[in-house]
Symmetry: C2
Subunit: 128 residues, 2 copies
């Protein structure tokens, strides 16, 4: 399965950044190749300039959501055009997915909560 960076480890993230929201329905074919390809793409993405993080969840029904974070739209465009990624995208359309949708979005505010034995209600809030 895909690796997922912690959503909470945000050391060194810039104030302004972008999310790529990838929502997909897996088809029934190519399970082994899919796992290999997905793992490889996460590994590669993590090594691209401008990559910040990735969160990925796949459900039993084959629906998956992967959100990756990037410093700017150029970094996203570069990754989209990466040769090995282009090959994986073609394989995805031929084999892996019934449908997918990709949205690029600029993060404009965020907040988070971490449960704690002492302080249960700490909520950080940031609006940019």
């Amino acid at each position: 399965m895909m690796e997922t960076d912690s959503a909470l480890d945000k050391n060194g993230w810039p104030e302004r950044y972008f999310a790529v929201i990838f929502t997909a329905q897996r088809s029934l074919s190519g399970d082994d190749i899919y796992d290999l390809t997905a793992d490889r793409m996460v590994w590669l993405a993590q090594r691209q300039p401008g990559f910040l993080g990735v969160e990925s969840v796949g459900g039993d029904d084959g629906i998956g959501i992967t959100v990756s974070y990037w410093v700017d739209r150029q970094a996203i465009a570069n990754w989209r055009q990466h040769a090995e990624h282009l090959a994986a995208q073609a394989l995805g359309r031929q084999e892996f997915y019934d449908w997918y949708r990709i949205r690029v979005a600029e993060v404009v505010s965020e907040r988070s909560f971490i449960a704690d034995t002492i302080v249960k209600n700490s909520e950080l809030d940031r609006d940019i």
Copy 2:
């Protein structure tokens, strides 16, 4: 489990809209109440002014990603302050989640792919 609107049925969506990316780690407590509460919140959100759609996936490891779509930040702010939603948020912090992170992001481009028996490679592209 939560309902998920089709990511592809975008009739009537505006050119400009916003995503709320909710990433969370479930704690081990409160399964029944969680399911009831989550279903109720999706049902309620779908009835709020400015709601466009929702996609939600929960993995076996308790990590979940829910992305909801809204016409503007005011609609998101209103939903955040909805009385019953506020109660559910408090319950979430007390019972359901080890951590969560919420990001509001403005969608700036999107594209999608739908597999077809005839045309396998149709890819729609939109940049705004």
